[in-house]
Subunit: 152 residues, 2 copies
DNA sequence: TGAGGATAGATGCAAACGCATATATAACTA
DNA sequence: TAGTTATATATGCGTTTGCATCTATCCTCA
């Protein structure tokens, strides 16, 4: 009753713009000359791990990385083989693994991260001012929060 | 001078939240039981074509679909083989192709689109109200617009 | 305690991807 | 207008992805 009929269209428009912004920025980042050591997806994993104070489960990592479980499992495989990620069986649960960055992995993450963060900052501030960035962050956070409980 | 030192961090935070929101919603959409006829990526192409009044070039389509040019070329291939997309050589430029939906393609797009649009609307309105949706759309539009000229 | 079911992650396999490059046509230039 | 360069799309190939399924471990409850 309090929901005007026009909302669905607006909602779809908002999603479409979000998608467009995502696409535009991803292309921009992909075009950077920085992904020779680690691909953008690998960086995503290293970055996520870098923010975890303690070793993480694959399934937990998978909540933050948009990949299927098998794909992530193998991606971590490759990173482990390259010595960037440490993967050991969880002593408390023999089924699970505990993932963490190695020193080399942290170094690679930071090396790529510094430059990338600058690019991101430049890209975001090119279109939005301080207040707008805050609003965008808040809106996206709220949007995601409304669904974090939904999926497993 | 007018840019406070704190902005880079805010800018990166905004990007991270945008990314998180994108991921959360994509997972939600992927979990829908609707992608048996066309995959989400195929739908993206059909949807984009459905919004074009006239036949489109592959390169133009590629501006809206986040795929490499060869990947899109082959995706369109598959859609054409399935009779959903019409691909003909551009009479005005023998190198290029003109892409458009077939009647069947339009039907499939609409069939999938109706339900998907409802899901999107539900997902977006679950977290944000009318005003917030408008703000989000505007911010994303502005953000993307700041870069549309950048890349070819 | 031990059988049945649930959960975490790994693996087989076909499909799809990106990179490099080939092909075909157009556009420019001398 | 012939030769050169640029543009639009296609193709070869090795890598990565997702789906289905497997294995190993854990949990529950009779």
């Amino acid at each position: 009753m309090t929901t005007p009929r026009v909302m669905p269209a607006l909602a779809n428009e908002a999603w479409e713009q979000l998608l467009a912004a995502y696409g535009t920025l991803m292309r921009l980042y992909a075009a950077e000359d920085r992904w020779d050591e680690v691909s953008m997806r690998e960086y995503d994993v290293l970055y996520t791990l870098s923010k975890c104070p303690a070793p993480v489960r694959l399934s937990e990592l998978n909540r933050h990385v948009l990949l299927s479980q098998p794909a992530l499992s193998r991606l971590v495989d490759r990173l482990a083989e390259r010595g960037l990620v440490d993967r050991c069986t969880d002593p408390a649960d023999g089924r699970g693994v505990r993932l963490s960055l190695t020193a080399a992995g942290r170094a690679v993450q930071q090396r790529a991260g510094r430059g990338h963060a600058r690019t991101v900052a430049r890209a975001m501030t090119a279109g939005l001012n301080h207040d707008e960035l805050g609003q965008l962050a808040a809106l996206c956070r709220k949007l995601a929060a409304a669904h974090d409980k939904d999926l497993t």
